[in-house]
Symmetry: C2
Subunit: 481 residues, 2 copies
């Protein structure tokens, strides 16, 4: 399971000379260090709790007892909807006799997400009761009166003819994009799919050009089907990356194995540059100062649908490996795994989902940056979301009270210190913001980014990727999911 800790620094011979790899180890910046995390915590009504009980067992040389988790899954127990091997054959026969509902690639990603318990306590695609709560309140009320966060509607759309074919059946078979049986949805409920309302309430806009909307909603059916999910076997992609796809259960086991007393999750869908590394390393340092003995970083790239101009998953995973190989992040205290969710680019609404799913994976700290899950407005020349709203909304979100939210300031290239550092408005002119577009332009032109922006091995991965894209650019770029 612990894939990344076996990697070691090697192959420094053929690095681009413009890089100085030793620089990348000098993080974090002492200027930032003093108060950055604390000062940025003003957004949060909750301070990280000093729950040091798990590490203060008196004898420093005696390892703390292995715990099943640092944070309870939402609803109290991790949902696991993969049927046992002994049941799979009978359920498979049952599935053959039921009305069939086709899944798109994104639907299948949601089946994956639900079946492994990332959306605990959700046990299947949402029925209307859950859909409405998600849409209006971003949370679900459980039978015991407690509240869990649930900001994105996790729903399955069907077309009129499928609804008609289902008729009065109480269960259906879910069929993957390759035609194979994926699972069964039981005690189904079919209700209207008001796309306009769903889009408006989820994204706060109905402007054309939202990537997830165009891919998964605009041409989807006018009905939603909810019910209890059973998956006949674990979802695999056979893309050479399945070993990175650790389930929440596997992650929790891994955290226990490493005797983590704090787990801080970092969600990303982009290459890791040294600004990211700065804040991850600094977060660890802060946690140590707070009394935790063994904070573990969950570096958790999103693996499902992303928009066409995001970097392909396999390239990102290779880039992340280099970051650990070259010691920018410490393999001993870092776990790299894939978060199987598709991306909505729904800003403050989506960041809650990203945080909530990591609770279920066992993380008790969540790092949130500028404009999480944001993008440019599809039709206007501005950010779609206020870049500060993500962390504000996250810190106030119902159902996330047990998670410690760690907002951070934006990192940029400090042209004086010649490294990535936290932006200081008082000397704004010293900082250089390197956007994805700018990074791509560096790579396209063969130019190196400023010294200290990214570790050499990671940058090389990107240069090769963008070079390969340039060859394809006369064709329309393929979706990167």
């Amino acid at each position: 399971m612990s894939l990344t800790i076996k990697l070691h620094v090697h192959h420094r011979a053929n690095l681009p000379t413009a890089f100085n790899p030793t620089k990348t180890k000098s993080l974090p910046s002492p200027i930032y260090h003093a108060n950055a995390l604390l000062s940025s915590l003003v957004y949060s009504p909750r301070r990280p709790r000093m729950t040091t009980s798990s590490v203060s067992n008196g004898a420093a040389d005696r390892p703390p007892p292995v715990k099943s988790s640092l944070i309870d899954p939402d609803g109290g127990a991790l949902v696991d909807l993969v049927v046992s091997e002994s049941d799979a054959e009978a359920k498979g026969r049952e599935a053959e006799s039921l009305p069939r509902v086709p899944l798109t690639r994104i639907d299948l990603e949601w089946v994956h997400v639900i079946s492994e318990g990332w959306a605990s306590p959700l046990k299947g695609f949402m029925r209307e009761n859950e859909y409405l709560q998600s849409l209006h309140f971003n949370c679900l009320r459980l039978n015991d009166g407690s509240i869990v966060n649930m900001s994105l509607p996790i729903v399955l759309a069907i077309h009129d003819e499928i609804k008609q074919a289902i008729g009065s059946s109480e269960k259906v078979t879910l069929v993957g994009p390759d035609g194979g049986v994926v699972g069964i949805l039981r005690s189904i409920e079919i209700y209207k799919h008001n796309k306009e309302e769903r889009i408006a309430r989820t994204w706060g806009t109905t402007a054309p050009g939202l990537p997830y909307v165009e891919e998964a909603i605009t041409h989807a059916g006018n009905w939603l089907i909810g019910g209890d999910l059973e998956v006949l076997k674990p979802i695999k992609y056979n893309d050479g990356l399945d070993h990175y796809r650790l389930s929440p259960k596997q992650l929790r086991q891994e955290f226990d194995k490493r005797q983590a007393d704090a787990v801080f999750a970092f969600q990303l869908r982009n290459p890791v540059h040294n600004g990211h590394a700065l804040l991850m390393n600094d977060t660890r340092k802060r946690l140590l100062e707070m009394g935790y003995k063994n904070p573990i970083l969950l570096l958790h790239p999103l693996g499902g649908f992303v928009k066409a101009d995001d970097v392909l998953l396999d390239v990102r995973m290779e880039q992340h490996s280099k970051v650990l190989e070259e010691g920018v992040l410490d393999p001993k205290t870092t776990i790299v795994a894939i978060f199987p969710s598709p991306m909505h680019y729904a800003g403050p609404t989506e960041v809650q989902w990203h945080a909530k799913a990591r609770i279920n994976a066992g993380a008790n700290f969540y790092i949130v940056g500028r404009d999480p899950a944001g993008m440019g407005h599809p039709t206007e020349k501005r950010d779609l979301y206020d870049p500060d709203h993500g962390k504000k909304v996250l810190s106030m979100a119902p159902g996330l009270e047990k998670l410690n939210i760690l907002p951070f300031r934006v990192a940029a290239y400090d042209t004086v210190a010649k490294k990535m550092a936290f932006f200081e408005p008082s000397r704004a002119q010293d900082f250089l913001f390197i956007s994805g577009t700018k990074m791509r332009n560096y790579a396209k032109s063969g130019e190196n980014p400023p010294d200290g922006f990214m570790c050499p091995g990671g940058w090389k991965v990107l240069v090769q990727y963008y070079a390969s894209l340039q060859g394809e650019e006369t064709q329309s770029p393929a979706l990167s999911a």
Copy 2:
């Protein structure tokens, strides 16, 4: 305060002959009676609580002790932001020296709403922290961790030049549409007014033609200003209807005076027909069966901004008076008062506001019907909201747990029984739906609606109103707020 109980049945001589006034007293329909309220309660996870303690004090001949309320205001105490008379002069002088923020008529309605505590515990126009919670979660978290419902952003927009004029001042003077000083907003916060996002998340659409949006948002400023409100004197309209505008405090006193042991609120912005009366009378009957001794109806028409084709407030108030005069509703157990809020027509989002405000006014039961606060989609030929979503969302809304939600089935004209009755799908062909448009066409053409649709005096008020409109119809109709 108890305006309506002084009205008595009179003036039956000149009623249109097509009406049989005795019919209107034969409600409720025995067909509906048996299980309608109970069966419709399947939407609600909460059943009305049988809190009969307030009426079971043993001695039936001894009146129950006067209570300050049947239900606590949100946040525990009613907000009252009208300054004392002794302070008003000094505050008035202070106001003269501050930067001035102009209020529209709708802004002033919100000042009225906030100042009297309808939006308790809100103490002024929302700051960003409250705005974001309202927009994303439809509720606010209080300092003690508890949650109150707050589904509509109650915000004040200002233009760039006003923002500039405010500069670094920490307080501003609010100036009414007539140029008079209304109050002071203290400890202000100015933040961006992202209209598109506000509209999309509040209405679930951004289609052009939403009445409140066109009136109050589209041309409003690009900034919102929040802060703590002080109002120099109670808001009055001098339209001959101010005596109907009872504050939450006055309503609570009135309920105590009447020794109510249950108060059920009915929100409306339309004339009362016998279908409405059917369910209000039936609700009272059900409450008596549940063990309450003196349930009081709060008939609570909305008095703020409404769309151009809604009936004018003074006409509605006259119509409501007739309904009580003619005994369709019992003046002894009914209080008619004006709810000063403007109307958003935001369906499931707005109905929460309508219910929450009535908690603050002391109502512990809230009646919700088909498509509350709904309207036709402004650009498509369909309802803007699923007509069932209002009651579903209301029954699940965070912060409304202490309110008993009473959903009811749709009423229509039963052509067999020749009266308004609850619609029965099994004999759909017997029922006639009389929409606002159809009602208006009856009135315009001088034709009477079916016998038993509305009490004669109330209908006469409408006929005169629509006749007066026809005279004006070559001009564009005035807004009815």
